[in-house]
């Protein structure tokens, strides 16, 4: 077991990347960046980490640099957020289509306009279909563990896909938490060196990123889709290996006090911890309520979602992003899609909560519960609601 210390989560993520012995970090150091890459640049400059830190002129170039370095066989890491992630958009497809196992920490923050870099999931939901593996963590320990886990998964020869580790901006990224760091021996046991099946090499040349004419493009998309769906088995295996090494067990979908609950909250990311407090207080008041948390977002864990939510009366789905002019929130939409084939479908009520850093309190969850209880008692199912919006 490692040492437990108080540490800002962004700093912890940087040190987890250092423990993974990354070879290349490329980033654009301006708002909305976080301390993740700032600290990595210090670790390299101070000689604690033997890596190339490549400062570039934009996030578009940061991701391009990561593509080149990982293709050359270097373990590669970057971090971004909000507008920075949006500027990477074009290259995200190139990284995933070329099956380049980059690990990227994304501090989830809202997108402009109006200018806002506070916490929500608007940035990453715009990148949902870029073909990356995507997980959401809830706290600092989660974040630290998942950086090492992400390298283990992404670089597996059966996977070879880039991965985003999503952690909430400010409410997770900028807070000091109690972290148990891994020892070098634990990292060695868990994470083998990066050994790509082929790499850019002047002595043994390969063409990476060739043209895909109409005769072949369709087959590449099918192979990419199957790779994402097939990655779940490796992710689950790596979570159990992680548990063997450090004793913490993670799952694609996790539950809290939900065994006998007719009404469950469904959430993703750091907000789940506030929700747990609300569940505790509602349980003390005799309410049969629980929480189901989505950890894995891509590939979407259809079977686990059906197992966790099928048979409930009411699901209170909480989204941190709004599909403007669409069906509401992306999480609720996909959960509904997963449940559609069930013979008896639970009712789903949807809340879009905490957009642009608006606080979501324990009291807010209790109000959401009351609305869920009204539906469970036979009331009408309301449409999606932007929690706390002023008329």
């Amino acid at each position: 077991m490692g040492t437990r210390i108080g540490k800002e989560v962004s700093i912890g993520i940087a040190e987890a990347a250092m423990m993974a012995d990354v070879d290349v970090v490329s980033a654009y150091p301006i708002t909305p960046q976080t301390h993740v890459v700032e600290h990595l640049s210090e670790l390299v400059a101070d000689g604690h980490l033997d890596a190339e830190f490549v400062p570039v002129e934009s996030e578009h170039t940061a991701m391009s640099t990561c593509c080149g370095s990982v293709a050359a066989g270097a373990r590669t890491f970057t971090a971004t957020s909000s507008q920075g992630l949006a500027l990477m958009h074009e290259i995200l497809f190139i990284a995933s289509g070329m099956r380049l196992p980059i690990v990227m920490a994304v501090a989830n923050r809202s997108l402009s306009a109006p200018i806002s870099i506070w916490n929500d999931h608007g940035d990453v939901m715009a990148e949902r279909d870029t073909g990356w593996l995507q997980v959401f963590v809830e706290n600092g320990q989660d974040a630290y563990d998942h950086i090492l886990w992400a390298f283990r998964v992404a670089e597996d020869h059966g996977v070879l896909l880039p991965i985003m580790v999503n952690f909430d901006g400010f409410i997770v990224s900028h807070v000091v938490e109690s972290l148990e760091e891994w020892s070098p021996e634990e990292v060695r046991r868990f994470l083998p060196p990066y050994d790509p099946p082929y790499r850019l090499d002047v002595d043994n040349p390969w063409t990476f990123g060739p043209v895909g004419i109409p005769d072949i493009y369709l087959e590449t998309r099918k192979a990419h889709d199957e790779a994402l769906l097939g990655a779940k088995a490796t992710m689950v295996k790596a979570w159990s290996e992680l548990a063997d090494v450090v004793g913490r067990q993670y799952y694609p979908v996790e539950q809290y006090k939900a065994d006998d609950a007719d009404i469950v909250f469904l959430s993703m990311g750091g907000i789940s911890e506030t929700c747990m407090t609300a569940v505790d207080e509602l349980r003390e008041a005799g309410k049969k309520v629980g929480l189901v948390r989505l950890r894995l977002w891509r590939p979407f864990p259809f079977d686990e979602v059906k197992a966790a939510l099928g048979g409930r009366k009411v699901i209170i789905a909480i989204d941190r992003a709004l599909s403007t002019g669409g069906p509401g929130g992306p999480v609720a939409s996909e959960v509904k899609a997963a449940l559609y084939g069930l013979e008896t479908r639970p009712q789903v009520i949807e809340f879009i909560a905490g957009l642009g850093g608006r606080d979501v309190t324990v009291g807010d969850f209790k109000q959401m519960y009351e609305k869920g209880a009204a539906v469970a008692a036979g009331g009408p199912v309301p449409g999606y609601e932007l929690l706390g919006v002023r008329a």
Binding site: G97, M98, R99, L100, L160, P197, Y198, P205, W206, T207, F208, G209, P210, V211, G212, I213, D215, I216, E219, T220, K222, A223, E226, A227
Partner: protein, 94 residues
Amino acid sequence: MAPLPGWKDLPPGCPIQEPLSARNNLTGSWRSARPIWDHDKCVRCGVCDLFCPEACIKPDHEGLYQANLDYCKGCGICAQECVTQCISMKQEEE
């Protein structure tokens, strides 16, 4: 031409190790019409050759101009520019 690979045959990310493999792709495959010469009217001036954007028109051993259909995209520029209008464009059959 070798049969086209299925999705399971593709290596992750589709890197290519064979040099010049782009030559395997015959770019005339999307042609919808082909040029036909009336060699009785042809004066062998070579304007068709000069204008062809694919440079795929060449005289044969008798000096009669022909298009290499592996690369001819059927654009019809040769027929448009021909001095004696001896080239007609014939629709490709299904």
